[in-house]
C-alpha cells in the first residue's frame, strides 16, 4: 500500500533502470534492428510458407486419426494429443516469427483513440477467461483525440499484454486497464523516456499476478526471452509489442513490485489538433 502511494509521485527505481536500458536500445533500433528485421522478414516469409504447408497434413491426419481410431483404440488418444498440441505450438511459433519480422512493413492510419481501444477490448474479451475480471477506466479528455497506429498491431499489443496478465493472474482475479490523456514531460522525466513534449494516450495495464523478477525486467522485451513453461509461449509476444510501439513513436515500460503483480505502461503520441483539420483550414492556421 505504502509502495503504491509512493509511486504516485515518482517512478519506482526498477522502472527507471528499465528506461535507461530501453533508451540504449532505442538508439540502435533505427539502424541495425531495422536491417535485421528486414532480412528476417524475407527469410521468415519463405520459412512460414514451407512450415505452414508441412504442418497442414500432420495436423489434419493426426486429428482425423484421433476422431476415427480412438473410438476403438482409446490408448492412442494421449499420443495423438501430443502430436496435435506440438503441431499447434509450431504453428504459433511460425505466426509469431512472421508477426515479429513484419513489424517494419505495417501501414499506419489515424484512429480515434477511445474508439479503437473500445473496439480492441471487444475483440480481445473472448481471450480473457470468464473468472478474470477486466476493469477498465477511460479518461473523457481522450474524446475526439486521434492516434496514428496500425490497427492490427494495436490489437496485437493489447492482446499480448493482456494474455500475459491473464496467465500471471491464474484462474481468478482482476486486471485493470486505464487509459488517460497525459503529457509524459509533466509526469515523469521525459528526457529519459525520449518521448515528445505533447499529449499522449497513456494506457496502464496492471495485474495482481506473480509479478516480474527484477533481473528479468530488462530482458522481457528481448526476442525469445520467456519465463513461461514449455509450450505456453514463444517469447516473441512482448518483443512484438516493443517493436510496434516504437514504430508509433511511443514507449512501453514494465515495472513490478516483486510478487504484487506487474504493470505495463504504454505511451502513444496523440495527433496535434491542427492535423485533424481539413487541408484548407490547416493552411489558414499556418
Amino acid at each position: 500500500m505504502h509502495k503504491n502511494k509512493a509511486r504516485m509521485h515518482a517512478p519506482p527505481l526498477v522502472t527507471h533502470v528499465n528506461h535507461m536500458q530501453l533508451q540504449g536500445r532505442t538508439m540502435c533500433i533505427d539502424k541495425e534492428e531495422k536491417q535485421r528485421l528486414a532480412a528476417l522478414g524475407t527469410m521468415a516469409g519463405g520459412i512460414a510458407h514451407e512450415i505452414n504447408n508441412a504442418l497442414t497434413p500432420i495436423l489434419l491426419f493426426s486429428e482425423d486419426f484421433k476422431a476415427k481410431l480412438c473410438k476403438t483404440h482409446p490408448e492412442y488418444e494421449d499420443i495423438l494429443d501430443v502430436i496435435i498440441n506440438y503441431t499447434l505450438y509450431a504453428r504459433d511459433i511460425v505466426d509469431d516469427i512472421s508477426l515479429y519480422s513484419r513489424q517494419v512493413q505495417r501501414e499506419k492510419e489515424d484512429y480515434l483513440a477511445l474508439e479503437l481501444l473500445s473496439q480492441t477490448l471487444e475483440l480481445v474479451k473472448a481471450s480473457i477467461p470468464n473468472q478474470i475480471e477486466l476493469s477498465t477506466a477511460f479518461d473523457s479528455n481522450l474524446r475526439g483525440k486521434m492516434i496514428n497506429v496500425n490497427k492490427t498491431g494495436f490489437i496485437q499489443v493489447i492482446l499480448n499484454i493482456l494474455t500475459n496478465a491473464c496467465q500471471a493472474t491464474g484462474e481468478k482475479g482482476i486486471i485493470n486497464l486505464r487509459a488517460t490523456l497525459e503529457n509524459p514531460h509533466r509526469k515523469y522525466s521525459a528526457k529519459t523516456l525520449e518521448l515528445a513534449d505533447t499529449d499522449h494516450l497513456k494506457i496502464v495495464i496492471k495485474d495482481r499476478g506473480h509479478g516480474i523478477a527484477a533481473e528479468h525486467l530488462n530482458l522481457i522485451f528481448d526476442p525469445f526471452f520467456t519465463t513461461k513453461n514449455e509450450g505456453e509461449g514463444t517469447g516473441l509476444g512482448l518483443s512484438v509489442v516493443y517493436g510496434l510501439i516504437k514504430q508509433w513513436q511511443g514507449e512501453v515500460i514494465a515495472d513490478s513490485d516483486g510478487k504484487a503483480g506487474a504493470r505495463f505502461t504504454i505511451w502513444i503520441p496523440l495527433k496535434n489538433e491542427a492535423e485533424h483539420l481539413p487541408a484548407p483550414l490547416k493552411k489558414d492556421i499556418v
Partner: protein, 122 residues
C-alpha cells in the same frame, strides 16, 4: 453428398483433405495445380473447389477467376500458408474477392469440415 475438387501442389495436403472429406461421404477429385484443375473441372464439374493460392502453372487466383466466369461457378474455398514474397494474410485477402471462404494453413480438421458445410449450404 457432394463432389469436391481439391487443388494443391503438395501431395500430403491433397491426400489429407481427401481422406477427411471422403470419410464424410464426399466424392473427391484431386489436381496438382490450377491448370490441371481447370481442365478436370470443365470435363467433370464439381460442387465445390478447394484450392491453394500459390501454385505453379496456374495459381489459385487464376483458377478462381476462370471458375468465377463460368455460367454456373462452383462454391470455392481458398487455402494458403503464404509464400516467399507474399504472406498468407495477403494471399487470402486477395482471394476473398473470389472465394466463398478463405482459410489460413495450417488449419484443423474442424475448420475444413465447417468451411465445406458452410460453403455447400450457401
Amino acid at each position: 453428398m457432394s463432389k469436391i475438387l481439391i487443388v494443391d501442389d503438395m501431395t500430403g495436403i491433397r491426400r489429407s483433405l481427401s481422406v477427411i472429406l471422403s470419410g464424410c461421404g464426399h466424392e473427391i477429385v484431386e489436381a496438382e495445380n490450377g491448370m490441371v484443375a481447370y481442365t478436370k473441372f470443365t470435363e467433370h464439374p464439381t460442387d465445390l473447389v478447394i484450392t491453394d493460392i500459390l501454385m505453379p502453372e496456374l495459381d489459385g487466383i487464376g483458377l478462381l477467376t476462370k471458375l468465377k466466369k463460368l455460367d454456373t461457378p462452383p462454391k470455392m474455398i481458398a487455402i494458403s500458408g503464404g509464400g516467399n514474397k507474399v504472406t498468407a494474410e495477403n494471399a487470402l485477402e486477395l482471394a476473398e474477392s473470389y472465394a466463398d471462404i478463405v482459410i489460413k494453413k495450417p488449419f484443423q480438421r474442424e475448420d475444413i469440415l465447417n468451411a465445406v458445410q458452410t460453403a455447400l449450404a450457401s
